[in-house]
Every structure is written in C-alpha cells, then in structure tokens.
Symmetry: C2
Subunit: 481 residues, 2 copies
Amino acid sequence: MAEFDEALENRLGELTRETKDRGIPLMIVIEGPPASGKSRLANALYMALDAKYTNFMATRPPREIDLRYPFLQRFWNHLPKAGDINIHFRSWYAQYINYKSYGIKENIRTEYTDIRQDMENFEQMLTDSGYEIIKLYVDAPEEVRARHIQKLKDNPILKWKAEEFEEQLDKTDYIKEMKKFLDMLTGCPWTVIDFEDKEGAVNTLFSTVVERLEARLEQEDQTQDGSVDGDFTKKYEAEFFDFDFEDEKISGKDYKAILPDLQSRMREIQFQLYKEKVPLILVYEGMDAAGKGGNIKRIREHLDPTGYTVNATGAPTDVELLHHYLWRFAIDIPRSGHVAFYDRSWYGRVLVERIEGLASKQQWQQSYEEINAFEKSLYNSGAIIIKFFLSLDKDEQLERFESREDDPDKQWKLTDEDWRNREKWDEYVEASEDMIRKTHTAFAPWHVIPGNNKKYARITALKKVIETCEARLGISAKSGD
Amino acid sequence: MAEFDEALENRLGELTRETKDRGIPLMIVIEGPPASGKSRLANALYMALDAKYTNFMATRPPREIDLRYPFLQRFWNHLPKAGDINIHFRSWYAQYINYKSYGIKENIRTEYTDIRQDMENFEQMLTDSGYEIIKLYVDAPEEVRARHIQKLKDNPILKWKAEEFEEQLDKTDYIKEMKKFLDMLTGCPWTVIDFEDKEGAVNTLFSTVVERLEARLEQEDQTQDGSVDGDFTKKYEAEFFDFDFEDEKISGKDYKAILPDLQSRMREIQFQLYKEKVPLILVYEGMDAAGKGGNIKRIREHLDPTGYTVNATGAPTDVELLHHYLWRFAIDIPRSGHVAFYDRSWYGRVLVERIEGLASKQQWQQSYEEINAFEKSLYNSGAIIIKFFLSLDKDEQLERFESREDDPDKQWKLTDEDWRNREKWDEYVEASEDMIRKTHTAFAPWHVIPGNNKKYARITALKKVIETCEARLGISAKSGD
C-alpha cells in the first residue's frame, strides 16, 4: 500500500498558487465507472486545493430546465474565470453518455455526433484561449468496484447509493462509450488512473496534475508573446455595401398600412414558438445610428414581455473580462420557446475589439471559427438564429448624429465615442465585411439590410423574421393556424 | 380615449438615466389579475427604459429545482445591481399566492406567515440599503378582463393563453389574496392603476414612476450624508472569551481513536441529509490562524464531494460591490440536501467591514437584524444552520504566525494583512462579541469553541454538527438506521 506523499501535495499547492497568480484557468475532469473510487479521489483533490478559488461541479441527471438550453449550458454557466480551478466530477462526457443511453432528444436537433462536435469545439475554444484542461479517468478492476458496492450495501444509511451505482451500470453504456473517448486521438489527452488503494491513486492523480502544470508553466515562460500573427491576408472587398440606398424606400403611408399586421403576426409567431419550445435568437449589428434599437422596438412592440429579452451589449464588466469572451453571452441565451434580441453581440470581438486593439490579431482571427461553432451549438439545441447587419452610408450617419445633437430628448444618445467610431469608418466597414463573409452560415445566416430608410429596414427585418419562423414552425403565411 | 404622452416618456427616460448615474437600484413590481392588460403595460414600460440596464423578470409556476431553495431565491438571484432596473412582472406576491393556493409546502418549514414575514424583511432590507421599490397593481373591471380573454380565445394560435388565464382564476385565490396585501399599511405602498384603455393606463403608470423617482431624487439631494449615527451604545463585555484555555485539551491518542468514527458518522449524516433533502449550513468565524480551515477539513474528509461546497469568503468583486452585501451569499446557498461550509461569511459585514470602516456605522448596525432575517429565511426553507466561532488567545496566535513564517510550505498562508489584523486585536474581540450577542438565535445559534488546542476544537465541532443533525433527522446516535 502506497503512502500519502505530502511533498507532492505541497508541490500541487505551490503550482496552483502560481496558475492563480498568472490567471490561468484550470479545469480538471474526473471520469470513471461507478464505484471506482473516483469520489474519494476527487475529494482528496478538492481538499488539497485552495477553497478560495476552487469549485467542485458534479454532473447529474438532466432536469426539465436543462433540456431547455443547449447541451453545454451548465458547463458554460460554471466556467472558471482566470486563475480559478474547476473540478468536474463527471463532465460533459458523462452527460453525453447519459443523454445517449436514455435516448434524450429534447435539446438535440439532429444527431449525437453534432453534440460530440460541440464538445470538441468547446475544449478547443477553451484551450486556444489559455484554459488548461486535464482529463482523468479513474478505473478499477471489476472485483474492486464490486467490493466498494458491497460495502455500501451493508450500511442501511448508504445502501441507496449502491443501488444508484447498480442502476447506472445497468442502464447506461458508460464503460463502453467512455472507452471510445479514451481511444480518441484528437482533443485534450486522457490520463487513466488505476485505483487499487486510495493513497496510491491519490499520488498518481496529484503527480499527473503536477506534471501537466509544470509543463504548462514552463511553456509559458518560453513563449515570448501571446500575439502570434496568422496568415490572415483577406483583401478588402466592398461587395456587401453596394446597395443603391436611394432605391430602398417605403412611403409613410405604406408603412402605416403594413406595420400593424406584421406586428400582430409577430405576436402569433411568439406564442407558437413558445408552444413548440423553439428559441429565437435575433442578432443586430451595424454602424452607430443605423437604427438597431428602433428596428428591435418595432418587432417587440406587440410581443408578450414575459417571453422575450433585449440584451444591449456594452463594455464587459471586470468579472466578464476574467472569462472567455463568449462566456457572458453563453450564460444568458434564451431558454427554449423564448426570444432574445441582441443589440450588438458577441461580434464585438471581431469589430470593436479588433479595431481598438482590445483583442490581438491572433485572438480575433480565431474568433470567427469559435463564433461559428458557438452558433452551431445553439442551432444544434434547436434555436432559430437570424443576424441582421443594418448598413447605412456615411452622410446619413452624419445627419442622424446632428439631429440627435439638436434634440434635447435625444442628446444623451450621442456620445463622444460615437464621433470617435465615425473617424474609424473605413476600418469598421472592413471589419464588418470580414465578419459577414466568415460567419455567414447556413445555420446562422446574415441579412444585410440597407438602413438609410428606417421604415424600409424595419419592415424588411420584420418580414424576414416572420418568414423564417413560419418556415421553421411549418405554419402558413396567411392563416392563424 | 387618452393619448400617449411622449413628454412623460421622455421625462421617465431622463429620470432613469439619473438613477443609473447615481447608482440607485430600482425594482418595479407589476401585479394584477389575469387579462387585466398588465402585460401590455409592462411591455410599454420595458420599451421605454434603456435595455442596457433594464431586466424583465416574470414569475412562473415553481419548478422542482425552485422548491429546493428558499422561497425568495429567484429574486435574490436576479436582484438588480446599483443603477439597474428590474421590472417584476408578477413578483414574490404572485409566487406567494401560488404556493398558498396550490398548498406547496416543500420549502416552507412552518407556516405561510413566516414566508410573508420573509417577504416583508426582504423589502425592508433592500429599501434600507437604498433600493427603490415601486409596487403597481393593474386592475380592470371584470367585463374588460372577460373581453380580453374572449379576444384571445377567438385566435387559434393564442387560445391556450386564454385557457391559462382561466385556469389561474379558477385555481388560485389571486384577487382575494392580493386584496389583503393592497390593504396592508406596512411595507412599500401600492399604487392601483385602472386599465380602461391602454394609453391612459400607460400614462398613469409612467407618471406614477416619474413621481416616485422625482421624490426620491429630491430627498437624496436634501440628505447631507448617508452615515446617520444610531443610538447603539452597547458596552464592552468579555463574557464570550472567558475560557480557561488550558483546560480544553484532548490528547493525540484520544484524538486518533475518536476521529475516524466521527467522520464515518458524518458521512452517514451527509447521505441522510441528502435523502431527506435537508440543507446544512456551517458558518465558521474566528481570528486569523484560529484553525477554521483545518477544522472544516476534518469534517469534509470522508464526505462525498458531490454533496458539499466550501465557500472561502474573500474581498468582494466589483460586481458584488454593486449589489446588496448579502447578495453574493444569497445566490450561492446550498440547495436542499447539500452541505455548505463558509470559511468566513456574511458576518464580514460586522467584523472586517465595521473595523476597517468599509461599512458606515449605520450600515453595520442595521446588519445584525438583516442577517437574522436572512438566516431566518434559510431556516424557514428547512435549513439547519450551525455557526462556529473559533476563539484563540493572542499569544497562541503569535506562535502560529511564527511557525507559519518558518515553514516554507506554509509561508504563503501568512500575509501582511494578518499582521495588520493582529494590531486590531481588541477591536476584533469587541466586534466579535457584539456579533455573537446580536445574532445568536434559536434558529441559527453560535457555538464558541476555544481553539487553542486544535484537536479539541475539531472534535467539539464535529460532535456538535453530528448531534444537531441527528436531532433534526430523528436518527439515533448509535445505530446506522
């Protein structure tokens, strides 16, 4: 029987204080078959780490409410911030196997392979932005596990836990499915820990984490600078902005005639989305004063407020800055059947953050794919995603700025920042075009709407939303049934 | 028919930008019988406010998970931070009536009157710390409501909403129960809005909010300074620290003999708490180096890590500072059946915040009652609350500091702050005594444990936890059943 290695525990403490200081977020995944001893190991690890910045997160059977969000929602919600540590006791792997074994389909749009892809993207996205993910599989021979179960059974207070283990073994393909994951060559690697006696297993666990952290810290010391230049050499093309703004108009009379019907229809659509539990995500981007807020208002006007939210995206808070940039959006997406408007969105990463140098070139370049993967995961959970880019020409913007300046009730809308952004007009055009080209996907398409005529833009957006939802809900455009 | 008053809407915008700037958190409660038109009013209000800092929160029938937390949990979770606005579409009032009508007892320990008291305390606590709570009741004559329902019924897509309204009217005593609340003379006052036509009702709603905000802002301008001195003149008494430290000891041999049995029993207790869905809250306070972490460790050692958390309370984050001081604790309390350790806690308000001047005298003085009310609400939801104060004498602290200083593996535990705190020893003693005297309640008692002998303190705490839980769970001290 091995002896507990106190020096190793001290070293682990030292290294995790170092990752805390350097702001490296750490996720330690512990998987393993029932009664393999993994809860004792996990507890030893939890106790060895500083409770100030260590969170213990266990997966559990999905609740009804979980099924109203994307598959990875709980992991997003509990993502560690810079320097913090998560111990994942069972993780997205066990959750995946549970879903698959029980045939849960409720927030899976197509196939389980999509969810597997979401999981891979999730890990990739996190490691790319500096997260350290250490995956451990605690295994034990069948007779050892049987002994653990028997011991529980002998105690009347603990007996039900043994029954739970047995049920898990009976009803899920955990061991078989995990085998496949362990054998995969892509993604973060697994370390298998054989549980024979507790002390030996704890030592193996601790030394695995210690080695990984030592390697990580050494690697960090050698890297000069985080901002590696990619081979991103897309040249400027103006294709998305070639609208003949003069032509896209609607008269005040027509507008007044059409709008109320569209708004009533939108209200019906909202109720139908709710009934069929389809989440609707509406993203608005565009130049300052392009009319995003007013456009959203026309869609909201007759909706039931208990079923929608408007997320106006401003500068991130201190806590948000300590997380992955998608985190603040991911924890706040609508549950099934609800509508969420985004007045600006996660695309700030490749617009303002790119232009103002708040993200490095490497960071914003890798964001296109991350955003696509993120939207794909929303799509996989059943969401309709519609993205509007409200375009507007430079003269029209100036006129709107000046009219805001002159109106005492609207002055507050115009800030110094708006003027500063205007000076970078060309950069915003270029960044917007790159964004649209790189993130225009079948599952989350962009619609560029000329915004010089506000009424035209509102009617166009409203029609597009209605039409997309009708197609998805399979309800005809005319009748209310 | 009234006309929509745009000037009023502009004034509302102006005032809420002012409350935003001044950091006043605003909660607007909208209640009213089904089909009274309140969702249209609420939407108008939502649209008139700036989406950047306005949240819309609807109550809904409780889910299973809600019943595993205190009654007010969801409202704590969504509490607006300084300057933000919450629109509560139905609120704790509707939730209370739902619980009562449906006879939901699951997270109610004693009587509904306790929950009513929790609600009153909640509002009081918030207004005392600067929250503005505006409560509106939207009423409509029965024939108007019947007309609204009929209109929904006529539309095949909206019909189910009408049925929901009718069910609410059938199955709950909403109108009768709300009447009682409206007639109450205590607490924040209600304004009744009669819905005849939408525009008129919107105008009334807006002007009510405008008047309340104007009054509030005027009052703020007149108040010189927030720190009013209370008549808190408790004199210093040393009663809680009169231990004969020499006597409270346990030998190493006895310790080793007793500890494993107590820890196994603690594990059984944990499983039983889980099975019976009783949450256990263990609060630790005490001087630096009093042995809180080590004491908690001995209790944790054999527990299942999926069922407990350790909350080590440090300085609040920026976002936390923008909330009520109890918020960060309230959103993180254990769900039923789980155990939460607090290595320092909300009592920081009356200890470090008092001593370092981070809370004004008025603030920390009113906190005793707020904390008692908070703990009472946890108790009302079924929790066992045990609070330990680990005492220690000044010489012993010095010895422990010096031994940490000499041990390379423990140096990190000793910070400059520890030395600074030590200089304020007498102030901490006084604050601790006041705290214990003012917050020692039947539902959340303090246990002062002499901590000079760590082994004695650990065994004493462990025994106290086991004994308290056994009594509550009704399991005998000896057997496992």
